[in-house]
């Protein structure tokens, strides 16, 4: 006999959430993998808020990660609207949710355009509420370990003194000597913390004296980004407080870790704990070996671009890669790029549309998705082609220009308020407006004139069919240039209902006249 099993209330709820997450948008894309819910804790009757995160592109079931949140339902709805539900963003958010819940450090390596930073910001808002940003730390070749861990800063009074000290502390020789002091203190294993601190002070004063600076200078201890994030607590008023041993912990985002020098990576390795989790505590030598405890909400997310985007850089340090959940992302797929472009140019992320046209706006383009879709095709193609050329690299340049989705979003924003008027029609000159914005947001950065020229020619061809490479587009049964198509679309969108009726009447008369072989006007009364 088959046993009938009834689903538990939790299972039923999960099924409901999964069903909602599977809903599709107008382009056939999943809506989002985010869901808000509230629960009453039995016994205490306390109301708790949760956010569920899952990957709606997943083909095998939809594992959900349930996280307690300080965000409101409205916060979550707004955040959902601000995330374009591409396959890549769903994958990254899922990885963030799972590793956050399991207290594992996460490292995402992927090209600039895919939203690694953007999603971390939204994720932090999903946990802490709208407007809360993670503690950010950006690595570069110049990053010093002291910025991450801790340092002693001289207390100086006058600008002159500050300048002298600054010059002294910026010297690599000084840094080396400070590092020597660190090693000396670390070696004194039989010293108490107080004795270690006293030794640090003495050595620092000696160092200052040897450089001709006042040995009387007082020093102030300062924690760096890592211990800070471990012991920070976000208070209800939005401010943070720090406690080395009892802080709640907070989200730390270490960006471009691929640019960090080996000594910085070595410092970051201290974050590795047992079983792939974050460490429970770290010891800070600068504070005489005092321990800083990792609060229960402390979480670290590393991000970096692939090595080919940094000239002369190696792969991510293997020891770091082993100590984190390492997720490697590819470039946005053409489908995702097109979806993002479509979201921007049909203004689906805009929320409430303005009732009145903003200054500089001739045509309320945000109310005309049919035009937006055509612009989207041009901009996404242009973006993709330029990206391809830039990957080859501009000749002999150190600066790289990885394009991002923000570039598209900026063009979409600019299209609303920087509209040029056509002298011929008096309506919006869409090709000129678009070219102008593409110049400001894409082309002016380029130092290589040949790439700039090539891309301008491509753009002209797409709009005016100047070289015939892109060809004509089919519009209402006719083969025309995109410029002609835009002019027609803009004109229609710019006319009022009465003007449209009037125009239709005139056109009907013209057709009738041409059928009769007479000139319009003769029988038009």
């Amino acid at each position: 006999m088959t046993e009938i099993r009834f689903k538990s209330p939790e299972e039923i709820k999960e099924d409901e959430i999964e069903f909602k997450m599977r809903e599709r948008g107008p382009e056939g894309e999943p809506q989002s993998g985010i869901f808000f819910d509230e629960e009453i804790v039995s016994g205490t009757q306390e109301k708790k808020k949760y956010v569920y995160i899952g990957n709606p592109y997943s083909t095998e079931g939809l594992p959900l990660t349930k996280l307690e949140t300080e965000a409101t339902r409205e916060d979550i709805e707004t955040i959902k609207r601000e995330i374009i539900p591409t396959k890549e963003s769903a994958e990254m958010l899922e990885a963030m949710a799972v590793t956050y819940k399991n207290r594992q450090p996460l490292l995402i390596e992927g090209p600039t355009a895919i939203g690694k930073t953007y999603l971390m910001e939204r994720f932090t808002e999903m946990i802490y509420g709208r407007g809360t940003k993670p503690l950010d730390f950006y690595c570069s070749g110049q990053t010093d370990v002291s910025e991450l861990m801790a340092k002693w800063v001289p207390k100086t009074e006058t600008e002159e003194e500050k300048k002298k000290w600054n010059e002294f502390l910026e010297l690599s020789e000084t840094r080396g000597k400070i590092s020597e002091i660190a090693q000396e203190v670390e070696g004194k294993t039989n010293f108490s913390q107080e004795r270690k601190l006293a030794l640090i002070h003495i050595r620092l004063q000696e160092l200052a004296k040897s450089a001709g600076l006042s040995e009387e200078t007082q020093w102030r201890f300062q924690y760096g980004a890592v211990p800070k994030a471990m012991g920070l607590t976000k208070n209800p008023d939005g401010n943070f407080t720090f406690d080395e041993l009892n802080g709640a912990g907070f989200n730390l985002h270490i960006e471009e870790v691929g640019l960090a020098e080996p000594q910085v990576i070595n410092a970051l390795l201290k974050l590795r704990g047992k079983s792939g989790r974050l460490t429970e505590e770290i010891q800070v030598w600068e504070n005489g070996g005092k321990k800083v405890k990792s609060g229960p909400k402390f979480w670290v997310y590393f991000s970096t671009n692939p090595p080919e985007e940094y000239l002369a850089r190696n792969e991510i340090d293997p020891a770091l890669a082993r100590g984190v959940v390492f997720k490697r992302m590819k470039e946005l797929s053409p489908e995702s790029l097109y979806l993002a472009s479509d979201y921007y140019f049909t203004y689906r992320m805009m929320g409430e549309k303005p009732k009145e046209k903003p200054e500089g706006c001739l045509l309320d383009i945000y109310n005309h998705p049919e035009i937006g879709k055509e612009i989207s095709t041009i901009v996404s193609t242009f973006h993709n082609d330029l990206n391809g050329l830039l990957k080859v690299g501009e000749k002999g340049r150190r600066q790289r220009i990885p394009l991002s989705l923000d570039d598209m979003a900026r063009v979409a924003d600019g299209l609303i308020t920087e509209q040029a008027r056509s002298k011929e029609t008096g309506f919006l000159d869409l090709p000129r407006t678009l070219k102008n914005l593409i110049e400001f947001y894409y082309l002016n950065r380029l130092a290589d004139e040949s790439i700039k020229k090539k891309m301008l020619e491509k753009l002209d061809d797409m709009i005016f069919n100047t070289t015939g490479v892109t060809g004509l587009v089919e519009f209402e049964g006719k083969k025309i240039t995109r410029k002609e198509m835009f002019d027609m679309m803009v004109e229609r969108a710019s006319l009022t209902e009465e003007e449209k009726i009037e125009r239709a009447k005139r056109e009907a008369i013209q057709v009738e006249a041409s059928l009769r072989g007479t000139k319009p006007g003769k029988n038009s009364k």
Binding site: E82, T112, T117, E121, K133, L135, D136, F137, Y138, S140, G141, Q142, D144, E147, E159, K162, K163, N166, Q222, Y223, G224, K228, L232, N239, F240, T241, F242, E255, N305, E309, Y310, Y344, Y347, M349, M350, P354, P358, G360, R397, R398, Q399, R400, I401, P402, D406, M408, A409, R410, A412, D413, G414, I416, T417, E418, N436, F440, Y441, N444, R445, A447
Partner: protein, 155 residues
């Protein structure tokens, strides 16, 4: 032509209207090699449109001092034209990224706070000014251009 482009550039920075990107942009003015336009002239021209103060991040600048000045200008809701003539230090790069990504300053142990955060006022904007050759040869951070929204070429 340059003045028209400058006007559009400032308009693009000024707009507080956002459909896709949720933050204000930081602007970049790039002085191309052989340009005859003087920096003082640019500042004078920009001043005709917006209330702007100029700062230099150069050989003698200290990071903390520049942060203080930027924060003070923001407190007065001013625009800032920041000319850079030396490579960006790590703390400066951190703040530039913060300004670009979230329009805010985030400094550890500053102003008597564990984490000092300051949102850029809605009426303030920041424009970086640098020579093309300087950017190409002196700036070691390889993705410098990605911090900026509109870029104006000064030829």
């Amino acid at each position: 032509m340059y003045k028209d482009k400058l006007k559009t550039f400032l308009n693009l920075l000024k707009k507080d209207f956002s459909a896709g990107k949720k933050t204000f942009d930081i602007g970049l003015m790039v002085i191309e090699p052989k340009s005859r336009i003087k920096k003082e002239g640019i500042l004078k021209e920009v001043k005709k449109t917006v209330d702007i103060e100029s700062l230099i991040y150069g050989k003698d600048s200290r990071d903390e001092e520049i942060f203080n000045k930027i924060i003070q200008s923001f407190q007065r809701s001013k625009w800032i034209l920041l000319e850079i003539t030396k490579d960006l230090s790590s703390p400066m790069l951190n703040q530039l990224k913060n300004l670009s990504n979230s329009n805010s300053f985030q400094i550890i142990d500053y102003g008597g706070k564990d984490v000092f955060e300051m949102k850029m006022p809605e009426k303030s904007r920041i424009i970086f000014l640098a020579e093309r050759n300087f950017i190409e040869k002196e700036i070691r951070y390889p993705h410098f251009y990605t911090f900026f929204g509109p870029t104006l070429n000064i030829k």
